[in-house]
Symmetry: none
Subunit: 405 residues, 2 copies
């Protein structure tokens, strides 16, 4: 079994200002690929730290990954530490740094050029690692049979560079692990439906709840795993997303393109989260037309043409307002389907009749009109996220139904 | 400055199945109380692990905290490891264990009594630590001036026992750590402006970039810290957010309420992210009216009344379209300020003249009209996040200027 030691550097990790996340993530990826992680060390910034450590680690593991300390500021000491440990002077890798800078517009590039002596340097004899997401070069070398990599601590950069450099190591043995993403189910309810599978000793089942979806990861013998995923797809039928489709929003847009539909939204309590989720998907402009975020009652009247008497009689958070909002978006954007959200995200604004967490949804167009209501638990951020996820779930169901007519 | 070393034991932490949380939490509490955390080690379960480590740590720090390995199962080795390290046999502390069991109903108690030789035992000469939340006894001892504690890894138990045993240590001394949040500055530019402070040996400065802001955390002697934060506020003047205000969006809404302004947005490439950021703040409805997410050109025309010839002549991503979009939002929502975003988030849609990452911003209302353009690096998610952050920065500047007129 190949072994790895992971090291995270940063005063902010030791003062608890930031939670260390890179090593936990990489440890999981390595474990799934058959590696053994020997230890994770979280250490302060500072010039002496790595030198004290590396002599006792090099040669003991196949892989050492260092996260952090590669930026341009005074507390970034990884390059200097590696230089002293390797007894190799720091040199600027003009070519590798220029490749990074070419991604930046001229004004940012000028500024970054001044950081070449920090972000663009590495100990002589080591290999530069390209950074596709940021401006600091990574460093790689092999010593006493141990491969050592230093990547920046910014999570997006760390992950991209680890995926890129360790692609041959992070090979999750295909077939013995598969997953199914399910929309709209609570983890606790879902568990009961698959208890026959979780009690099977020959299968290892991990349930990973995410925003609006639950991913069931199945590991074991390939034939057992395939059988189990088929069973899961049968149990949850159309609530399963297609293989390889990670999000409800992406599936909605895929379905809309396939069925020639266009989509619009009218948002109150989600405040733009719904539009943001849909436009997060590349190519969303093929079927997403827009979203009217109407927080004030005047905006609901003027932009979505919700009749003033509807708001006065039933309130802005009501079945009636939700329906008129969806109708308004349908008309204003001339889309084939429209969905609306209106609710009380809190912390204020609740009442006995309509407590914080009450959210109404409206659907219009594509041969149907409907409304739904939920009372979501949690704080403002939770209620808003639940509302976005529920709206996406309802919208996907509506889009799925269109062909059935 | 008193120093601490934190050690977390558990295979599940090294395989990434569970994220380590106890040490990060305690590190934060200790730092706020004026302690220096020297390192956090995450190590596997197993009999040899602690023995290998403790000889080099004891005497080096004032405090060592061990999390995990105290339960009743085969992989819980902390008691046995401490026993071997201290050369003291394990004995059952009947009295201390009985105190724990008295909290349990009879049927559970009978089961737990059978675990006395593991959960109720500790090396002779060490002190039992009561567990108010679970059934495993903790262990405490002092050696070579170092206080050592072992607490169970279950977060609720770990936290309760740490609070109880370290109550005299975890006294947050106000003033020895303060931070300033700065909007709109790149980390690389910012660090040059505060080099006098980062070179001051009596101050510990941590620079934490976040979405659209950089936080400068200053630690040290209270009077030095206060002086340094004043200097930072002078250097970055109005780009500093007020103390206790964590985000640009929150500051915009605070300023808008104070100045009696209302806000609306017109979003294309941000697709709702801008509205979502503003409505993330509780009470945002006091000044945020809404956002027209107009992804299609038809929506830009029909909802924001951008003249068709403006889009045909200059394109949807242009200074002119951005300005008309902001004017449209101002009028449609009847707000006092409006901001717009229109750009090419990618991966498709770029050209030589307007590459992916090109984003125009428009501002209208509140005595001014203006536009700005940036070319942002990175992928779709990056360009969208940069665009949202830049729009918030521009909006805050506009709102700040209103009183100056």
């Amino acid at each position: 079994m190949k072994s790895a030691i992971l090291i995270a550097l940063g005063d902010e990790l030791l003062s608890g200002i930031r939670q260390e996340r890179n090593c936990g993530w990489l440890a999981n990826r390595l474990t799934l690929s058959g590696w053994k992680v020997l230890r994770i060390d979280i250490l302060p910034d500072g010039p002496g730290v790595l030198q004290g450590l590396l002599p006792s680690y090099i040669g003991r593991a196949d892989l050492i990954i260092i996260s952090g300390g590669l930026g341009p500021t005074h507390d970034d000491c990884t390059r200097a530490s590696l230089s002293r440990y390797l007894k190799a002077p720091l040199i600027i890798d003009t070519e590798a740094y220029a490749k990074i800078l070419s991604r930046y517009p001229p004004d940012m590039r000028r500024n970054l050029e001044r950081c070449a002596d920090t972000q663009g340097s590495l100990p002589e004899g080591t290999r530069p690692v390209h950074n596709p997401k940021g401006s600091a070069l990574g460093v790689a070398f092999i010593k006493e049979g141990t491969r050592v990599y230093a990547f920046p601590g910014v999570p997006t950069e760390f992950r991209a560079m680890a995926e890129q450099e360790l692609s041959a190591d992070l090979v999750e043995s295909n077939g013995c692990m598969r997953s199914v993403v399910i929309a709209g189910w609570a983890e606790s309810l879902l568990k009961d439906r698959i208890s026959a599978l979780t009690e099977d000793d020959l299968l290892q089942i991990t349930i990973l709840p995410s925003a609006g979806t639950v991913e069931i990861v199945v590991r074991g013998e390939p034939s057992k795993v395939n059988e189990a995923t088929l069973q899961i797809r049968e149990i949850f039928s159309e609530d399963c997303l297609p293989e390889g489709c990670p999000s409800v929003a992406e599936d909605i847009l895929r379905l809309a393109v396939a069925k020639g539909l266009t989509i619009s939204c009218a948002e109150s309590c989600t405040g733009g989260l719904l539009g943001a989720a849909l436009t997060d998907v590349p190519g969303s402009s093929d079927s997403f037309l827009g979203s009217a975020v109407c927080y004030s009652n005047e905006a609901k009247r003027n932009i979505l043409h919700v009749p003033v008497e509807i708001i006065t009689e039933f309130g802005a958070v009501s079945r009636e307002s939700a329906l008129y909002m969806a109708r308004g978006a349908l008309k204003q954007f001339s889309s084939s389907v429209a969905i609306s959200t209106t609710g009380i995200a809190g912390p204020g604004g609740g009442s006995a009749e309509k407590p914080v967490g009450t959210v109404w949804f409206g659907l219009a167009g594509a041969c149907e009109e409907s409304t739904a209501m939920n009372v979501f638990p949690g704080d403002r951020a939770h209620v808003r996220a639940w509302s976005r996820n529920r709206a996406l779930y309802l919208l996907r169901k509506a889009v799925l139904r269109v062909n059935a007519q």
